[in-house]
Symmetry: C2
Subunit: 433 residues, 2 copies
């Protein structure tokens, strides 16, 4: 529709054609108002019954809510209208009539449970505040990619159908690939590492990952969009710098470019974090957690951090923070240990007070140490030969990390459920739409 | 490595630490040269045997090719060096020694077949001309996203594990999803359509698609990266405008920002197309193909275009072109037909002289017509209820299209095989790496 005007751009004095959804119809007797909603906003259309063509009024008053309509008319100032302007219609066309029985009310006046909303995502994302979440999500992706490019990263795409998982056969969805057993990839980990050993050196990928985890919680998804970064010739500290850089960039971009969306979501005090994220060692972390007195049992060195432990520390710190220098045994085999203390790894996590966001670290780049790691993990290195053999031909020291965009959206916007941050979630119960 | 200098930035007078791969070692007797390659380029390191520390010379002369090395020293002007400068080393460290038996020669002096290259992609992408392809690919993705945003598109991510395929059960890879039968999605088609009916109205996605096609040809992949676009309130002509816009933007971006990569690939005359792409109706296309006299048998209305037919027309036109107004019966059911001629559809293809790139069209947005289309296709509409039911609640007229980034890279850079345009291709034979 080349002659379409967005409702937000309709100025008094113009004659415009707008197109959108019938958001609401208010019949006050002699006068009736149709509110037309499009992606830019809403506009009021006035029907004066005695002064307008009967057919036009008839059409206007019989429009079912959420029908797609097209209205042509003069735009006039009207201080009593929601946007201070209204259209006096000359022509009204119902392009696609809606069934009057809506499974979901996009005006938001009637609450719907999450399951109904996800079953009817088209109607759900007509709500401006739901749409706002996905506009913010898109802005985060834009900002993160821009940041990666500013530090010399090259975007890559790695395969999602793979012969073997990153960490063995657990939590993988099996695929039948031309009669062969294959899997949906749970992480680009091994592939991005292969690329830091190539001439690209520094790479990023934003794409889907698949995890057959049994968890069905408000913060787990079985298919998520992962932001992966990996770079040659950096260590875990520099990797944390880049990680922090992407998140600062994302928050700043949302603050600068999504004020309208933040307003819709009710964030009048959204502020991008300006300070550096504190970096605690694992040892410091467990000491501080124990000192909170929030846990029934004191943590000892070697324990993984429970949700309660993370919460206790997160409440105290009150913002993002890194935990570094983890015990080797609770980090994956491809994370490098300190040379002077093999019990201590160069892995790190980035935490938000509500949950873990990032896991990363310096990787093991030495062939012999890597093969040993596979064996210690109970994995057969020969199954991963496509990966390990490249470590025999000059693999540089490297580090990297990954985070799911859904967790970033969820924590940034303080959403209750991660399913609010993905259009069509996949979980144990949900495979459709 | 915070004190690392890229080889391309080493200036005479500096003392630098460079890190990269041992590209070549030339021992001329009293003097030897080590060429260090990193992502930015190469630099020469000079070993004067009689004037330098014996251990340093010993280390330098025993470096196996493709080992990862770190060299610290003074940069001096040297007109005989490949980049007019060289490093006089003070310290040389082998960070990761390479096995002297390389499966592939990244210097490119020894040819390798494609299969060997793909098995050893890490080494292969050390070749600057291979790396250049993937840098150009990344630039195309950047430019296309930027174009989408300039026309109001919102980036979305749709699920890759789905209950039903876009066009029924053919050519789908089955996945076991918590005991249920599911599939890898062959296209975001249905999901992006669901989103144009939401408040987002205009959406794009760049992500993987999976097709269990039996084809094993130089232009087919079983997993590809698709660029998808869909918008409410536009018709097929406006969808073609956006499609053309993305490709013009991609070519221009490559011309402006990838000159170094184009030089490496030997394109001294790369020029972004400046003209609009011609738009031929299907009827005009078959007439012109018949007129070439290249085909053994004349095409008649209703025939699909064979590879030979496309080639005959492509050779004549010599650049990108659209074919519009296809017979309805050879286009998918979700493409809308002309109201005044139901034999004729509003589908279109964008052709490159070498192959089809894009397929798109105006979609059927009317619930009844869509259900009829499902049935005519022999599909059970109830299986797609998650999709069709949204058409009962105000689905706007809409249009869109999709193309694979690999075909764009392949045609833009005149690559022989589509596997040159993807880091880790998936085909009937290849599932690893």
């Amino acid at each position: 529709m080349e002659d379409r005007t967005y409702t937000a751009d309709a100025e008094p004095g113009d004659t415009v054609t707008v197109a959108g959804w019938a958001h609401e119809l208010r019949d006050l007797g002699g006068i009736a108002f149709l509110i037309v909603r499009d992606t830019s906003g809403k506009i009021q259309v006035k029907f004066e019954k005695d002064e307008m063509d009967d057919d036009l009024v008839e059409t206007g008053l019989n429009i079912a809510r959420e029908s797609v309509v097209q209205v042509t008319g003069a735009v006039e100032e009207e201080p009593r209208a929601p946007t201070d302007v209204e259209i006096v219609p000359e022509e009204v066309e119902v392009i696609a009539g809606a069934d009057p029985e809506l499974p979901l009310d996009p005006s938001g006046k009637v609450d719907a449970d999450l399951s109904t909303r996800l079953d009817n995502r088209t109607l759900d994302v007509r709500k401006p505040e739901v749409k706002a979440i996905f506009e913010i999500r898109a802005e985060i992706l834009r900002a993160v990619r821009e940041y990666f490019r500013s530090v010399g990263g090259t975007e890559i795409n790695t395969p999602k159908i793979v012969a073997t998982g990153t960490e063995g056969g657990t939590e993988l969805f099996p695929v039948t690939y031309f009669g062969q057993e294959a899997f949906m990839n749970q992480s680009p980990q091994l592939f991005k590492q292969l690329m830091v050993g190539s001439g690209l050196e520094r790479v990023f990928e934003i794409g889907p990952i698949f995890r057959a985890e049994e968890h069905n919680t408000p913060r787990h998804l079985n298919e998520a969009t992962m932001i992966d970064f990996e770079s040659a010739f950096i260590d875990h500290n520099e990797a944390m710098d880049v990680c922090e850089g992407t998140l600062h960039a994302a928050y700043q971009a949302v603050e600068e470019n999504c004020q309208e969306q933040l307003d819709l979501l009710g964030y009048d005090d959204f502020a991008a974090p300006e300070e550096d994220f504190p970096r605690l060692t694992y040892e410091e972390a467990i000491e501080r957690i124990n000192a909170t007195g929030e846990l029934d049992e004191q943590l000892v060195w070697g324990d993984d951090l429970s949700t309660e432990a993370e919460k206790a520390l997160g409440d105290e710190i009150g913002g993002h923070y890194f935990i570094t220098d983890w015990p080797s045994e609770i980090k994956p085999f491809y994370i490098q240990d300190y040379d002077d203390d093999p019990e201590l790894s160069k892995g790190f996590d980035l935490m938000h007070p509500r949950m873990e966001l990032v896991s990363g670290g310096q990787r093991e780049h030495r062939f012999e140490a890597l093969e040993e790691g596979f064996e210690q993990q109970g994995l057969d290195p020969s199954q991963f030969e496509y990966y390990t053999k490249m470590f025999r031909y000059g693999m540089p020291p490297h580090a990297g990390w990954a985070y799911g965009v859904e967790r970033v959206v969820m924590t940034m916007l303080d959403l209750d459920n991660i399913r609010e941050a993905v259009l069509f979630p996949r979980d144990r119960q949900r495979l459709s739409p």
